[in-house]
């Protein structure tokens, strides 16, 4: 793997003190400060004193289900609002913005890949990849004069260049192919942050490596920050930095220790 030369791994002592922090003066993609989230009438499910991810980083976030992973992604994605604290993306504080501004920000700057069922079943492969251009003019502009050919370029870069595959209904694709279509969609129009939530857990071993390799290559070609969430620590070495949500999240810590 061609990882960036300047890895942003923190010194161990610093990591112990504040596991989500990185050195100052680095442009930040994600910055959470004193963030707490609780469902109404319940104790906080998420309490993160600090989480910082630099622009261009590829971060492996180890987060088993129940660790507050969905909540964290909801906060970063701008669909959830913290009870306290601040959420900044690329220097912009999104938790104080209106709901529609946050949706707009997400459309412009974020690409998501989920564990499964990433594709809209009634759209073609190409239309699925082009979905972000419906909601973001910025992504549409960045996809070039002809977004469809850019989509095809991304698909072929992800080994889906075959016209026959493009013609197939998305439900007829293999899981590995579906995940690559989802990756192409997340990459289209070069969003600044790509969030992949267990994108490989439905794949077998070989497909997993192939998928990751392609994703990492295309993410760095698009100069995107990558936040990769998985419980499969075997993948961690491919990333520039590894974080454990259980270390970041004080609210989940007791539950983790009980389970351990």
């Amino acid at each position: 793997m061609n990882l960036p030369a300047t890895t942003l791994a923190n010194p161990p002592d610093k990591l112990l003190a504040t596991p989500g922090a990185i050195p100052l003066a680095t442009p930040l993609a994600i910055a959470l400060e004193e963030v707490q989230y609780a469902w109404p009438g319940q104790p906080p499910v998420l309490s993160i004193p600090q989480l910082q991810i630099a622009a261009g980083e590829r971060v492996f976030l180890r987060g088993p289900s129940g660790s507050g992973k969905s909540t964290l992604l909801g906060l970063v994605g701008g669909v959830l609002l913290p009870a306290t604290g601040s959420v900044q993306l690329f220097g912009e504080r999104i938790d104080t913005q209106s709901a529609s501004a946050r949706d707009h920000f997400r459309a412009d700057h974020l690409g998501f890949i989920f564990q499964w069922f990433n594709l809209v079943p009634y759209l073609s492969v190409l239309d699925n990849v082009l979905l972000p251009t419906l909601f973001s003019t910025l992504r549409k502009q960045r996809a070039g004069t002809d977004p469809a050919s850019e989509a095809k370029r991304l698909l072929s870069a992800l080994d889906l260049g075959d016209e026959k595959i493009l013609q197939r209904p998305v439900t007829a694709l293999s899981i590995g192919q579906q995940q690559r279509v989802a990756a192409a969609r997340a990459l289209l129009g070069r969003p600044r942050l790509i969030i992949a939530d267990e994108p490989t857990s439905a794949l077998d071993h070989d497909a997993r490596s192939a998928f990751l390799e392609l994703l990492l290559r295309e993410a760095s070609a698009a100069e995107a920050t990558l936040l990769f969430v998985s419980h499969d620590t075997a993948l961690a070495p491919l990333f520039s930095r590894t974080l454990a949500l259980s270390d970041l999240n004080r609210a989940a810590a007791p539950a983790e220790s009980v389970g351990a």
């Binding site: 709901a99 989920f114 969609r185």
Partner: protein, 413 residues
């Protein structure tokens, strides 16, 4: 917004099976509603068109409705007759253009027999002042001739030249058949969609001869002179030379001291009568409206059921930046589109059925249901269906909105 509509269209196309059924349910109810509305309109029209060009209907003193019912619709019986003298007095009045005597009370095979004069075929008007036409034969010229309406001819299978026997009294079975006095069919009228179709017309003289006592019969056979002036008639129709004299004549008749008679203006009495009959057809419209509501509720059910399987799709759309408001709009536009589809298909269905059934309805009921572009009220109904569809769409849209807020980006299985 256009790409989003395309998205909605593709989503709907993906569920075209249920969507078609949903739209079809709406279409059927829309067709029913439009059909009922059209029958209502045409029935009212045809009702109002039963008689036209007649200025006054005059009969023995009774309620205007009763007079109209027996004189024009051949329903019920007169309580008393009008004397020939009174009739002659009106007929010879200087302001009166024409009169048509009507003498009812006999029947033929269950059809009412109307004794009248040839002025009936000349002056009687229905619909948009249409004159009676003959499909076969011509008007009677003597006491032997009979002219029948289109429905009588069709149901009894009569042809010009057939002998006709008149029964005294009304009803299918009559005990006193006037068979000693055979009459002959001389004319068949074209369909009018009015009670004329179900009437057997004879001359007043014919009725008179039918009703002769054996003594009179014997005298006639002996060649003795007879008083051929009819003793009385049931009612008569009046056409004025100038419409301005109409009210004066009505007033004069209603206060006439020589005989207790009632004169009504047909239009006014028809409106009164329609107010009675109209209740039933309003009830019919209400039933049709409820069927439409059922159709729209079917759509609501289908949309709500589809929501669960579409949560995944909504989370994907949310993740690429769709606002909950856009998800909301997607659902509302889908409902409105289904309703529009249903309305258009319903219109087509109604027109198609009409084209198919129109000849039969016209032949059977004399109701002329015109094809063609709907009237303003029908357009308003169709528009109302689409609006109602969109309004009903607010329910699943609101639910999808709440779901997409709650689900966020979490793709649930």
């Amino acid at each position: 917004m256009t790409p989003l509509f395309r998205l909605a269209a593709k989503s709907l196309w993906n569920r075209r099976g249920t969507a078609t059924l949903t739209a079809f349910a709406i279409a059927v109810s829309v067709a029913l509603l439009l059909g009922v509305q059209q029958v209502r309109t045409e029935a009212r029209e045809s009702f109002a068109n039963t008689i036209s060009g007649t200025d006054l209907v005059v009969g023995a003193r009774s309620s205007p409705l009763n007079l109209l019912l027996y004189a024009v619709f051949r329903v019920g019986d007169a309580t008393a007759n009008v004397s020939w003298e009174t009739y002659q007095k009106v007929a010879n009045h200087r302001d009166v253009a024409w009169t048509i005597p009507l003498s009812l009370g006999d029947s033929h095979q269950g059809f009412r027999v109307l004794g009248t004069s040839t002025s009936y075929f000349e002056h009687y008007r229905y619909g948009r002042r249409q004159q009676l036409r003959f499909t076969a034969g011509k008007a009677f010229a003597d006491a032997e001739g009979v002219v029948i309406g289109a429905a009588v001819a069709r149901e009894l299978g009569y042809r010009v030249g057939d002998p006709i026997v008149i029964a005294h009294g009304i009803g299918e079975v009559s005990f006193t058949q006037h068979d000693h006095h055979p009459l002959r069919l001389v004319g068949i009228l074209a369909p009018t969609g009015t009670p004329v179709d179900r009437t057997v017309h004879v001359s007043l003289d014919a009725l008179d001869e039918v009703h002769r006592t054996p003594a009179e019969e014997a005298a006639a056979a002996a060649g003795l002179p007879l008083d051929t002036t009819p003793p009385a008639i049931t009612a008569f129709l009046v056409g004025m030379k100038e419409r301005s004299t109409l009210f004066v004549m009505q007033q004069a008749l209603n206060t006439y001291r020589g005989e207790a008679v009632t004169a009504v203006i047909p239009g006014v009495a028809l409106t009164q009568l329609w107010q009675l009959v109209g209740v039933a057809d309003t009830a019919l419209l209400i039933v049709a409206a409820f069927v439409l509501v059922a159709g729209l509720l079917g759509m609501l059910t289908a949309l709500l059921t589809s929501l669960n399987e579409r949560r995944r799709e909504m989370a994907i759309l949310r993740s690429v930046g769709a606002r909950p408001g856009q998800i909301f709009g997607l659902l509302v536009s889908e409902a409105a589109f289904l309703a529009l589809l249903g309305a258009v298909a319903g219109l087509a269905l109604q027109q198609g059925l009409l084209a198919l059934l129109q000849p039969w309805i016209e032949a059977k009921y004399g109701l002329v249901l015109a094809l063609g572009s709907p009237a303003a009220l029908e357009w308003a109904m169709l528009g109302g269906v689409v609006v109602a569809g969109a309004v009903i769409g607010l329910v699943p849209a609101w639910r999808a909105y709440r779901l997409s807020l709650a689900d966020g980006l979490t793709v649930r299985v």
